[in-house]
Every structure is written in C-alpha cells, then in structure tokens.
C-alpha cells in the first residue's frame, strides 16, 4: 500500500456523529432516494448561530448575523434559521425570493453582491437593506426608487482597498466595492440622493483568511464612518462580511503529516500521493519547492465564531491599539457579520454508493467508482481534503485492513475524480457500501452540481433527532413546525 496510511479524519460534532452511527437510516435513505444524496441538519445551523451570538455578547456588541445564503440552496436550513433571530444575506433575485418565502421579514434581509434591476427593484420594494457595491449602483438604485415611487431604502456602502499608516498590508484585488480612496465622491452621491436612500453604515468583505488584512479593513471602515459623522451623516453600523471559515479535520497532526508527505512526494522523495502525481499547486524546480499549496487549510486552530472573537480582540494599530471590538462598542456602532461557511459547519453530509472496486495492478491502489459525479461532492473543487467515512452494508463487514484507493465519479470522463488525492480507508470498500462525505453543507452540495450526461442531481433531505432517533423529510418539505412533532 506504500507506507503508513495518511488519514485525514473529519471533525464530527455530536449531530453528524450520531447520524453516521445510524447506518439503518442512511441505507434506507439511499435505497429510497438514490445515490448521491445530500442530508442537511437544520438544528445545527441554529446551534452555530448561538456561537456567533455569544461572541457578540462577550464583546457587548449589538447588530445582526446575516447568513450568507450563497453557501447552500437548502430550504430547510433557511427556514430553520428564519425561526431564529438571525438575518440573511442574499446575492440574487432568486435568493431574495427564497428568503422572503422562508419567512424572513425585510428588516432581517440584506441584499449584497452584483445586482440586476429586478433584484434591486424587489429589494427596494420590500424595504430590504441594500449593500451598495459602487457609486454607479447607488445612482441606479436612487433613480429606480424615484421612477417607481418606491420607499426610501436603507443602504450600506461597500468599500475596498483600504490603507492604514505604518505597515502596508497587501490584499488581493477585489472586483467588488468602492475603493476607500474614493469615499468622498461616494458620500457626496449619497447626500445628493438622500431623498431616495438613507446611509446606515459601511461594509467590506475580504476574501482572505488573514486576520491582519481584515483588521486593516475594519480600521478603514471606522475612519470612513468618522468621515460620515463629520459630514453630519448618522451611520450606525459596520458590516464586516464573512470569511470566518471551518476547521474540517479532527486532528491537526494528520494535516501536518499529510502536507509534509505531499511536499516530499512533489520533490520525488516518496511515491506520489495523488492521481498522476498532481501537486495541488506545488511543483519541483530543480529540487526546490515552488508554487503554493492550493488547498483550503483543512485544519484551522481558530475558525468560525472563535475567528470573529479573535478579530474583535485584535488591536487597532492605527487607532491607539484598542481592540477592534471595544472600538465598535465605544463608537456605538452595530456590528453586522455575513458568515456563510461558518454557519453551515456540521450542517450536513453527502452519501454516495460504491458501484465498483477494481484492482488495476496486483497490490496497487484500488480504483473505486461511486454512484456520484465529482461535482456532486464539491470538497475537491473548494480544495478541502478530508476522508469520507465508510459505511459498510450491515451484512458485509470486512475486516479492518487499511487500503489506499482512488475515488472516481460516474461520468464517462477521465477527469471525473471525486478527489485527485489517494484516499486511505480503514478497510476495503465493497460494492453496495456507502461513503459519507461529511460537512459538505457549505458550498459543497449544490454550488457546482450539473446534469452532465443526463445524470441526476442529488436529492436533498432534512434530518433531525426526535425521541432518540433520526427523522427525516425531503428538504423542500421541511418547515420549522415539522421537527417539533408535526406531520412527516
């Protein structure tokens, strides 16, 4: 098998763990609804929200937690969240309709992202707060409100490209937001259109895992808000976007061992760990490692609500070194956040049935074909490396003997690999077994799924615990009444 198995065990919370220990339910579900199949756990998203709320509490902050809808199309998750006090951040006309239909009132909805006229109209018509991407969009929204006699809209202005004195923190260029250096003309436009729009705050969202970059942007927003106040405007909120992340793996040492071995494999110091010697962005140039590891940091010591806590505790270097959270409270600003991935942590899994197990060469890695396409399990697309959990048919439990496998999808296509990584499983899978890819609710269920080759898109069910056992219904049949003893 080529040395010790390099496992990347997923981190399992109590709900996902319990569901995986109910193979009867999982087999019934896939037998009835086919493979692949997504299972979402609505109660988990409410629990994750509480984590964020408690960080707000610790920093004495008020403001809204807006779930970034784009991470999942599940109705069950959205409706469960509608039954809490959370908000939702919608980035398309369809998402706005979905949120309104799930029970979110307009005061709990924030319209973000690139917007078409229909999206802007429905947002303004229903008095949803609009996070305005550019001066052009502000003009467009104001004109629309006047032309259609719509109510005055609350707006946040999204900024980008912040600079603070001292150390220059570089950031990837963003296609969204107005450069902070063009704040004054933007505010002038907001003042000019004050009959149509009411400036309620500033926003940013940076696509980065770096705390320092986010702290720089937050400091930049505080300065922008001060500029607003000095002009007589009365903004009251800062929206710091999302990007709080998930720690996918249970064991940091496994992740470190794996990445070290991957480096060694790229340098030719050990047999490849991937299909075709793929390096995940690393390459070997004359014995020196070049490139960068194009993988999500699957084990993160700090992620989710704790990341927010750390950001709020981070000292604002250009504002006297006070922690950012304390500055927000002192300035009487509400804090808005837009967690997507972090709120979806542990909220679901994807099941795929093993169709074929082939030994291409004796003693070599097994080729395992699944009843699923690579785009049904988006983990690889998002650079998340994590082992699936093998769920054998109850009648066919083979002995524990680690094997190395390559996981292939069901498309007639060389590149339909569930992952390019050689996956180590604790025992040999057999046709009919299930592989459970856990923690896929964020971006990895329906974001990339296609109907290529007329193959079906996975169905989705919602599951919850009731009286010590797991109950379920189709995702779009779920309402918050369902799981409290309603009809199934």
């Amino acid at each position: 098998m080529g040395g010790h198995p390099l496992y990347l065990k997923p981190r399992l919370g109590p709900r996902l763990g319990s569901l995986l220990e109910s193979p009867g339910v999982l087999n019934t579900l896939t037998d009835a609804l086919g493979s692949p199949l997504h299972v979402v756990i609505p109660d988990q998203i409410a629990a994750n929200l509480e984590q964020f709320r408690s960080v707000y509490g610790r920093h004495h902050l008020s403001g809204q937690v807006f779930f970034a809808h784009k991470g999942s199309r599940s109705s069950a998750l959205l409706r469960r969240l509608a039954a809490t006090d959370a908000g939702v951040d919608v980035a398309s006309l369809g998402e706005l309709q979905h949120a309104l239909g799930a029970g979110f009132t307009p005061d709990r909805i924030l319209a973000t992202g690139p917007k078409n006229p229909e999206f802007l109209w429905l947002a303004a018509r229903t008095s949803v707060t609009v996070s305005v991407d550019s001066r052009d969009e502000l003009e467009q929204l104001s004109a629309l409100i006047r032309k259609c006699s719509l109510p005055r809209a609350d707006v946040l202005l999204r900024l980008s490209g912040f600079d603070v004195p001292g150390v220059r923190v570089l950031s990837r260029r963003s296609r969204f937001g107005t450069p902070a250096a063009e704040l004054v003309p933007l505010l002038e436009a907001a003042e000019r259109h004050s009959d149509a729009v009411d400036l309620v705050g500033m926003a940013y969202h940076l696509d980065t895992t770096s705390l320092a970059e986010k702290a720089t942007a937050l400091e930049g927003c505080l300065r922008a808000l001060e500029e607003c106040r000095s002009r007589g405007l009365r903004p009251c909120a800062v929206d710091i976007g999302g990007g709080f992340g998930i720690s996918y793996l249970a064991d940091g040492e496994q992740w470190e061992r794996y990445t070290t071995e991957l480096t060694a494999a790229v340098l030719g110091a050990r047999p490849p760990l991937t299909w075709g010697g793929h390096g995940y962005g690393l390459r070997n140039e004359g014995g020196t490692l070049r490139g960068s590891l194009g993988l999500y940091p699957a084990h993160r010591p700090v992620a989710g609500a704790r990341y927010l806590d750390q950001l709020l505790s981070h000292p604002a270097a250009s504002l006297g070194g006070r922690p950012l959270g304390a500055l927000l409270v002192e300035h009487l600003y509400d804090l808005h956040t837009e967690p997507g991935r972090a709120l979806l942590d542990q909220c679901g899994l994807t099941l795929a049935k093993v169709l074929e197990v082939r030994e291409q060469e004796p003693g070599g890695e097994l080729l395992v074909r699944l009843a699923a396409k690579a785009d049904d399990v988006g983990l690889e697309e998002h650079g998340v490396l994590m082992d699936p959990v093998l769920i054998p048919r109850p009648d066919r439990r083979t002995a524990d003997q680690p094997v190395a496998v390559h996981l292939f999808g069901s498309l007639c296509l060389e590149t339909d690999l569930i992952t390019r990584r050689t996956v180590f499983l604790p025992r040999r899978p057999e046709p009919g077994d299930l592989l459970a890819f856990v923690n896929t609710a964020a971006y990895c269920m329906d974001f990339h799924a296609t109907r290529a080759q007329q193959q079906p898109v996975a169905r989705k069910v919602a599951a919850w615990q009731e009286g010590g056992s797991w109950r379920w219904c189709l995702d779009d049949q779920y309402w918050p009444t369902t799981s409290v003893g309603g009809a199934q």
Binding site: V169, T208, S210, G281, R290, G320, E330, H331, H382
Partner: protein, 439 residues
C-alpha cells in the same frame, strides 16, 4: 580598534566556550559563535552586506530601491545598509509576526509590505501565489529594484564560506570541530560554514534544526518551508531535527541567565538542539571532541514573543488599586444611576462626567461637558490614589456600563463618597434619546 565604516565591523565575532557545568556534557567542548555581536545585531549582517555590496554604487546612481523577502534580521541589516548609501528599502513578508521587529524596521526608515493571506473561497485554478506575483513585480520592465534574493543568492552562502566558517577553524587552532549545529533559515550560514568545516575535515557532522511544523520560532523554517529555499540542500545536514518554541525559549533562558549571552530564541533553539543531540553521544565518547553552534541574534527584540508564550517569566508583583482585585459582589453593588436620573443629576448636582472610552470614540460623540480619560490611563492614575477631591461627585461612563461599574466600585473602595456608574453606558444614553455632541 578603529574603522572608517561600520561595515568593517561586520564579522570576526568571538567564539565562546560554554561552561560545562551549564551544559553537562563531559567529553565535548561546546562553543557558541556569537553572531549577535555583529554591528546591526545578527548573523544576517554578513549576508546582507555581501549580497548588497557589489550593487550599491549602481543602485545609488539609478535611485533603485533595495527589496528583500524578509521578516527580520536581513531586513534590519539591509535597511541600515540602504540608508547608509542613500537608498530606500522595502521588506515584503508574510511572516513578520514579532511587533518589535516591525517597529524597529519602521524606525530605520524601511517600508513594509505584508503579503495577502490565503483566499477563504479558494480557487484551485489560481496558480499565482503571492510570491510569484512578487517576483513578477520585481522583474517587471522599468522597475529599478535591487533585489538581494537571500533564499537563492549564492553570495549569502559565500559570506559564510569566506567569513564565518574560516573564523571558526582559526579560533579552534586550525581544526574543524567534530560537530556543527545550526538552525535552518535561509540555509546560508549553515551551508557555508558546513562546507568550510568539511573541507577541513570530511568527518564533521552537521545537525540542522528546523521548527516543529505548527510552531513559529523567528528565523527558523519548518521542514516544509525549508524546501522552498533555493540554498537549502538536505545533503548538507547529517540529520535534521525539530525544535519547539518551548525548547527554544528554554535554551534562550539558559544562555541569557547562566552564560551571559543575551541570545534570542533562534540562538536558544540552536543551544537546546545542540545539547539535546550531543547528550545522546557524549556518554559513549572516550576522546574529547568539540562542537560549535551559532547564536544568531539578541533577545531584546523578542520580548513580546516570549511574553505571549511564557507569561510566567514576566510575573510582576501585584499593584495596588487595580480593578482586577475587585470581587464580583463589589462590582455588582457599585453605585449606579440610570439615564434619566443621570440627566437630572448632571443638571443639579454638577458631577464631573468622566468618559472612559478611547479619544477617537469620544471625539466622535460624547455627553456635553464630559472629560475623556481612557480606561487604561485611568487605571494608571488610580494607582497613585484618588485623582478627584472627595467633595466632587463623579459620574463614570463607558460603552455599556461594565467598565464604569468596576471603576465606581474601585473608587468607592478607595474612599470616594459619591461616585456613580452610568447604567447601560453611552449606548443606553443614546438609546434613551439623550443628547450626544461633537465639539
């Protein structure tokens, strides 16, 4: 000793024997090569000078900027050298995690750019990592940069081939030591010195030290990061071993407290790694051997790094009148006043209104007539006793009424008869519609 330029003071550092009573080795003489005594404070002075020297005259003519990927000592040395030659210096880094070094570089006139972090919504097809982009910028047309390229520049290693290595041999009476132990950063010093020593005696054993993978020790790479270094050749080292932060600090403390060597954590890691490796072989030796390790730089720049990891080393005596001494009951029962009553009290009792928030927040909006004393300053003030007359009533205000309650309790304990905390703080004040002003 008289020099015409400070650069002449680079190199020729002492080799100092560590007292056997400290390291406990019976058959091995352990020597420290004190690179911390270079004029800009570290072993990197040699490489920086050797890499920059041939290009400085041209760069001065073109008005180039010196640029390097460095998070510490190389940047420090290059900043000084650039300044001496009328050039500017920019350090690009994603590893600058020691605040004192950042501040020192800014003080020396350096420009610092931090590379962006990894994308949260990963695009696996994006092959332009920040370093690739950095190199593209450096080599872009019309850009006049003097890029010293410490991780790939052979003149980095050369500085130690011609300097550090021969100095060690000379100081050991023309003999190479049996052992050489060095931390792997750019690999320049370890590669250069190892080469010289092996030329002298092919049997020299070289121990390379790297940081444990989840750890961060300034100036030392993890094994994966070492592979990204052009000068790094695993063949240089007979063994490569990992050192943890705790071990590095322990070694540093031994050098600091018992050897009179004010080494930083990298030197501490080298000492710890040396003793750990040598102890295993010491018992089986019958003849005397010698070993050399490198002390890269000084401790002073790493105080916050050490404080974060070993707060116990900074234990100070408790100070009087600290809000931390208060009991929960004292805080709970601290005198407080609601917004409406506070407004009435301000009108009739004329209390001194103290706003404990930061000046930035105070300047934005505050209660009319209040004075701003930031909580940190207030805490300092109280250490010296009551800063107000007992006859003057005091209303304390903070964002949510939590800090003000603490200080109201503390002032009460210190004997002030009429201090009250604004319940719910400035936020409650605002929510009640009470006036806030800007001056």
């Amino acid at each position: 000793m008289r020099y015409d330029s400070i650069t002449e003071a680079i190199g020729n550092t002492p080799l100092v024997r560590i007292d056997p009573a400290v390291h406990g080795l019976t058959h091995i003489d352990l020597y420290a090569k004190l690179e911390l005594l270079n004029p800009f404070g570290s072993v990197k002075d040699r490489a920086a000078w050797n890499m920059a020297r041939p290009h400085l005259a041209d760069a001065a003519e073109l008005g180039s900027q010196v640029v390097e990927l460095s998070s510490g000592n190389t940047a420090k040395a290059l900043a000084v050298l650039a300044g001496m030659h009328g050039l500017t210096f920019k350090s690009v880094t994603n590893r600058m995690r020691v605040p004192e070094i950042k501040d020192l570089l800014l003080l020396l006139g350096a420009e610092i750019e931090e590379l962006p972090g990894q994308s949260e919504c990963l695009d696996p097809t994006a092959t332009d990592d920040p370093l690739t982009l950095f190199h593209r910028t450096i080599s872009g047309q019309g850009n006049a940069y003097l890029h010293t390229d410490q991780y790939f520049n052979p003149r980095n290693t050369e500085a130690h081939l011609t300097g550090t290595g021969p100095e060690i041999v000379k100081d050991l009476d023309g003999r190479a030591p049996e052992w050489f132990i060095a931390c792997v950063g750019t690999a320049g010093s370890s590669t250069g010195v190892a080469h010289v020593l092996r030329e002298n005696d092919p049997a020299v054993r070289v121990v390379g030290l790297v940081a444990a993978k989840s750890d961060f020790i300034p100036g030392i790479r993890t094994i994966d990061e070492a592979h990204e270094v052009g000068l790094f050749d695993p063949g240089t080292y007979d063994t490569i071993e990992a050192v943890s932060t705790d071990e590095a600090i322990e070694g540093m403390l031994t050098l600091n407290r018992r050897c009179g060597i004010l080494a930083g954590p990298t030197g501490g890691a080298a000492y710890f790694g040396a003793v750990r490796h040598l102890r295993a072989v010491d018992g089986e030796l019958t003849q005397r051997q010698s070993a050399v390790f490198i002390v890269c730089d000084r401790v002073e720049s790493y105080l916050s790094y050490v404080r974060q990891r070993r707060p116990d080393l900074f234990g100070r005596p408790r100070r009087p009148n600290s809000p931390a001494d208060l009991t929960d009951a004292e805080i709970r029962t601290a005198p407080s006043v609601g917004v409406a009553d506070a407004q009435a009290w301000i009108a009739t009792g004329r209390p001194l209104v103290v706003d404990l928030r930061s000046p930035f927040a105070y300047a934005a909006l505050h209660i009319d007539g209040s004075v701003n004393i930031v909580d940190e300053v207030f805490e300092e003030l109280l250490r010296g006793g009551l800063p107000f007359s007992r006859s003057r009533p005091v209303l304390l205000a903070c964002p949510v009424g939590e800090k003000s309650a603490r200080y109201a309790a503390l002032l009460t304990r210190m004997g002030h008869p009429d201090v009250r905390s604004l319940a719910g703080g400035i936020i409650a004040w605002r929510d009640a519609g009470a006036p806030l002003v800007r001056d």
